[in-house]
């Protein structure tokens, strides 16, 4: 959201979800809707996250567990293929990592400032089960 001054917004504790009028919103895919910059679809609501999930697609089996369990609809999946994490909405709760069934996990939590490429390059290896 732009850092506008006190005189530059509509009055009231009120935000518009869309720019302009809408029709048949239920029949329009999210990416095709004209969301306003103030809607929580467009605006980042993730600024208090201190740990983030990193997705390593090499191990993902597209089971969709993370997509189902994410409490903030922040797992991006299209046609049942896991694409990644929506970092504008992810709060860093770690549930996706917890439910990930692969070995090693395809999602792991890292400090917010961790570098994705570096972490993927040093991803943990498969854990051997104790016999």
């Amino acid at each position: 959201m732009a850092n506008t001054g006190w005189d530059e917004f509509e009055i009231g504790a009120m935000l518009r979800t869309f720019d302009g009028a809408i029709e048949d919103i239920a029949g329009t895919r999210q990416e095709d809707r004209n969301y306003s910059p103030n809607s929580s679809f467009t605006a980042s609501v993730a600024d208090w996250r201190i740990e983030k999930p990193i997705f390593n697609k090499d191990y993902c089996i597209d089971c969709q567990f993370c997509w189902i369990y994410c409490p903030d609809v922040s797992i991006i999946s299209r046609d049942k293929k896991m694409i990644g994490v929506d970092m504008d909405h992810c709060k860093g709760c770690g549930i996706c990592v917890e439910v990930c069934p692969t070995n090693p996990k395809s999602l792991l939590m890292f400090p917010e400032l961790a570098d994705e490429e570096t972490e993927i390059a040093s991803w943990p290896t498969k854990e051997e089960k104790e016999k």
Partner: protein, 407 residues
């Protein structure tokens, strides 16, 4: 229209509550969400009866508390309706949280407060402690001194509050029992004229506009909250006063009854003046005229618009007065009375040599008698003659026991 009109005589004998209820009917309020409390109950009861008798087309929402009553009003106003309710004292206290929601969300709601003391000790009679409790809540506040004004100010409150440049809720105060339950002659407007003054409700950012969806009551933290509150204050200070004056002027044209942000009585050449609110204004007016027969140039200033407080107008009318008394009908809780502070604030940093003293009076419905006011004007004249305040700056009027004086 699907409802019946009511034939009114040009002058009806109404108490303040019924006058307010009639105004709600004539404005064709869409939703009244209310919880009963003495002495305001007959206002919402009156609306409910008008609705039951098909004199109004609207909804009466019976709720479980005053907090819910104002919450219902907020929902209805955000949905896009003309909304009103009434309460008093403890009821207003229970509404406190939602008062700030309504003003922050910029929803035009009209709230009739029939002023009553706040417990403890429990008391149903009139003082201004509830009015004062709401003074920082961001609502416009009008004050009626009699049933006629309770009637008139409701129309003016809707007119100002619903203006799209304003969209700030408005309170109409009247004194519990002294105004609310005292029947007097009230000059009426016929239904069409009255409705014509407020006009059809014009929604703005209403939730029931499905083509333009809005989220009301959003959260803002340190990044946005300040800007919203600043905007709200700015609009109160710069937009609302002119809108109130315009509504007063239009109302005068329609009815011949003239209102002002501050009402001045015998102030043209006054040496001493009393500033007060509610029914006390009428008593003070009478005493001021009697003092003039005794050679004391006495005047009265009534606060008609308590919020936004008319600082410049107060400074203008009082600047050449020698001694002024600020009468506060609310326990100040460890400071000067609110009117004392506002008036002092209005005159400070000016060239005025006005002497100001504050008086706490009338708590819990204790009468302010003409004798009290004669003594008060006499004391003010003594201050004026001496060129200084001879008493403490804060005194109590009409309380039993050793004299109370502070500051």
């Amino acid at each position: 229209m699907a409802f019946d009109k009511m034939e009114l005589r040009d002058i009806e004998v109404w108490d303040g509550n019924f006058a307010a209820a009639q105004a709600l009917r004539q404005c064709q309020v869409d939703v009244v969400s209310a919880y009963p409390i003495t002495p305001s109950t007959p206002i919402v009861e009156g609306y409910a009866k008008f609705k039951a008798d098909n004199y109004v087309e609207g909804e009466f929402v019976m709720v479980e508390s005053e907090h819910a009553a104002m919450s219902g009003c907020i929902g209805a106003a955000a949905a896009g309706g003309r909304v009103a309710t009434a309460t008093s004292s403890q009821g207003l206290a229970l509404m406190a949280e939602t008062l700030y929601q309504a003003s922050g969300m910029r929803l035009p709601i009209v709230l009739n407060i029939v002023n009553r003391a706040l417990a403890a000790p429990l008391n149903v009679n009139g003082d201004h402690s509830d009015m004062y409790m709401a003074r920082d809540s961001g609502w416009i506040q009008f004050d009626a001194y009699c049933p006629q004004e309770a009637y008139d100010l409701n129309f003016i409150a809707f007119k100002v509050s619903e203006d799209h440049d304003v969209r700030i809720p408005a309170i109409v105060n009247q004194d519990g029992f002294m105004t609310s339950h005292t029947a007097q002659g009230v000059k009426t407007m016929d239904d069409d004229t009255a409705y014509g003054f407020v006009g059809e409700y014009k929604p703005m950012n209403d939730m029931l506009d499905f083509e333009y969806p809005v989220t009301h009551g959003v959260q803002t933290e340190e990044d946005w909250h300040f800007e919203h509150k600043a905007r709200q204050h700015n609009d109160m200070m710069t937009i609302v006063p002119d809108k109130i004056d315009a509504a007063f002027a239009e109302f005068e044209k329609l009815t011949g009854r003239k209102y002002n942000q501050i009402e001045e009585y015998s102030m043209e050449d006054a040496d001493v003046a009393v500033v007060c609110m509610g029914t006390s204004v009428e008593t003070a007016r009478e005493v001021a005229l009697e003092m003039r027969e005794k050679g004391i140039k006495a005047g009265v200033v009534g606060i008609r618009v308590f919020r936004p407080f008319p600082f410049a107008k107060i400074a203008e009318v009082l600047k050449d007065v020698k001694a002024v008394a600020a009468l506060d009908r609310s326990a100040p809780g460890g400071t000067a009375g609110a009117l004392f502070n506002e008036i002092a604030g209005a005159l400070f940093n000016t060239d005025s040599k006005m002497l100001l003293s504050g008086y706490i009076y009338g708590l819990g419905g204790r009468d302010l008698t003409k004798k009290h006011l004669v003594d008060l004007y006499t004391e003010l004249q003594a201050n004026a003659d001496a060129g200084k305040v001879l008493t403490k700056q804060q005194q109590f009027i009409g309380v039993r026991g050793p004299k109370l004086a502070y500051l």
